[in-house]
Subunit: 337 residues, 2 copies
DNA sequence: GCGCATCACTGAACCGGGTAAGTTCTGGGA
DNA sequence: TCCCAGAACTTACCCGGTTCAGTGATGCGC
């Protein structure tokens, strides 16, 4: 089956290629009558512009790139990325931008992918996640002048757009809630510690605990995986002055922590209260369902995509705060016995 | 920063564009010495061929497409797709093929996306999942002559390559194992019932139960979500002759089923044994860890990508059985009390 | 009735690689 | 010495859109 081109349309409409191009793109230069005729022919023969030809002349690939830099094992189970991806799609799909995905192992490899994409003109911009302090990807993107949007922060991203959520406010709310329930010994199991948002959360956690006079507050670093979540939880629970509440930096570690508590014969929430960061169906799936810090990840992704499209179109972009994180109380939190 | 082109290389090497193209593609027509010189210049200035230009002349986009047709909520939590994606990437990345993703709501919309991709020449082939009986996507792909590989089955896909796993054998093994433990009342909570592999599993489940003389065997249809998993489990457990073992068609429903059992005060595996289809970190995360039907999803994806690349290159493709599914016993199965 | 602006369109160049066809040069055999 | 084969290139066109300069035709004001 032969793919129709604008030349086919031009022939049938009895006009030149140029006129067809103007008509299809809503440019001035053709009469309304001709435009209608051309559009109806295009519709009739099922015309879609060849993306390569368009990219070659117009310098717009109509695609954006996303790299996933997490071990495959974790990628699968963490709802975060898929939520983000659905959000992107909502905005991208509406403007028929494609999303190109690449799984990488390290930030260095990620930079290589950016360079390759840029050289190949394969994408018009990238979405950057898992931002670190003094992230080595930022200067490369600036040097390449590759439009980008950073998810996470707030941090220093120079001229690059940024979407972030108020992690400090959220963790403060969670700690205050636990204290209000009567907890005094609160611990936290954190995600990968060189990520910027982990550092922001840790700082905020320490600040609020200090201000409330909680002496036993401490953060055990982990890496978002269930294994590390279990290990950190065991370390916390076998100690003499074990915490009565634990806040986990993601849902996977929280579920793992719940399993450890059950395995040790502790009742949740009687002996231990659990709060998960990032609500997902996983949190309501287990028993008891987990109290969580919820945010609309999909909306977060949509907002990021929109910001990136703005950057690609050369419009002004900024430093945007995403929708609020709010606490969703469920069965895993209660006053300590 | 200007992107280097073959014209830049040609100028620096003192040869024509054509010679550079031959050299870079390993074609005959240039001397070994010139080829080396050209390659080293390309390396030095960080040349990457413009994918649009290449696609336009060579008619190869060096990208493959994948559509995800599941509600966003489920997409996030099911490890299956992300596992598959990592698998694809392993093969695609090695040949610098890109993976283009699109989230869709219905098979009809999926067909629209295929047509658009085809018209835009954006991709060289597609990976088709969630295959149904008399799937409406198959004839469209054949008509467009769009290279494709179908994941799932076995079923009728005509000339299109297919990767499938022995679901019938796996469910037979699971039932035999439960019977060997002493279970007689075994139920199953299935996935979306018009999917081909669900039907294959249901048929095999009925066959093996009949051959073993299990009268109480029954399948409750669900849809892979935690909500439906819970609902089906409740229906099964409140009945008079409640099953002593349940097999779930995915891990998410199995975890939800475990939570329902705990909520109803039933002990797992004392009062109820649970088997999950598709092992994932989620299964080892909960307490007790779930006995699962394991398969290497990532390898499954890699195999599919390889088969698709073969189809794109016009090589013969066939009907491939993926690695075996095997039973991984964990804490959620035991003899009934 | 003339000049000029505007509209509607055409023709051709262009983007950056791929490749068929043509050209030049070298060396070996008769 | 001449001829021819083959290597090592160059030239030029192709892919399918976009865009800019140019061309008639029309309308409008004076």
């Amino acid at each position: 089956m032969k793919r129709p081109t604008i030349a086919d349309i031009a022939r049938r409409a009895g006009v030149s290629k140029g006129a067809v191009s103007y008509a299809l793109n809503g440019q001035p230069g053709v009469s309304e009558a001709t435009r209608k005729r051309i559009l109806s022919i295009a519709e009739e023969i099922g015309f879609n512009a060849n993306s390569a030809a368009r990219a070659l002349s117009g310098a717009r690939a109509r695609a954006v790139g996303l790299t996933l830099c997490r071990p495959a094992k974790l990628l699968g189970i963490e709802p975060w990325f898929m939520g983000l991806i659905s959000g992107f799609e909502a905005e991208l799909g509406a403007r028929s931008y494609a999303l190109t995905l690449q799984v990488v192992a390290t930030p260095e490899e990620e930079i290589e992918v950016y360079r390759r994409w840029w050289g190949e003109r394969r994408i018009d911009g990238v979405i950057v996640t898992d931002i670190r302090k003094d992230d080595i990807r930022i200067p490369v993107l600036q040097q390449l002048q590759l439009p980008a949007v950073v998810i996470g922060g707030p941090g220093e991203t120079g001229s690059i757009a940024q979407i972030w959520s108020d992690d400090a406010g959220a963790i403060t709310e969670a700690v205050r809630y636990l204290v209000a329930l009567g907890h005094h010994r609160i611990a936290r199991v954190s995600g990968v510690s060189d990520l910027l948002h982990t550092q922001n959360r840790t700082k905020a956690f320490e600040t609020v605990c200090a201000s409330l006079g909680l002496d036993h507050a401490r953060t055990i670093p982990a890496d978002y995986t269930g294994e590390e979540g279990s290990r950190a939880t065991r370390r916390l629970l076998i100690g003499g002055d074990r915490p009565t509440a634990i806040i986990y930096d993601n849902d996977v570690m929280a579920v793992a922590g719940l399993a450890v508590a059950q395995e040790m014969g502790l009742s949740v929430p009687g002996d231990l209260s659990i709060v998960a960061w990032d609500d997902s169906p996983l949190c309501s799936l287990v028993h008891p369902p987990l109290t969580a810090l919820s945010r609309d990840i999909s909306a977060y992704g949509a907002q990021a995509a929109l910001e990136l499209l703005n950057a690609i179109d050369g419009r002004k972009v900024g430093n945007v705060e995403a929708g609020r994180v709010h606490l969703t109380p469920r069965g895993s939190t209660a006053p300590p016995r």
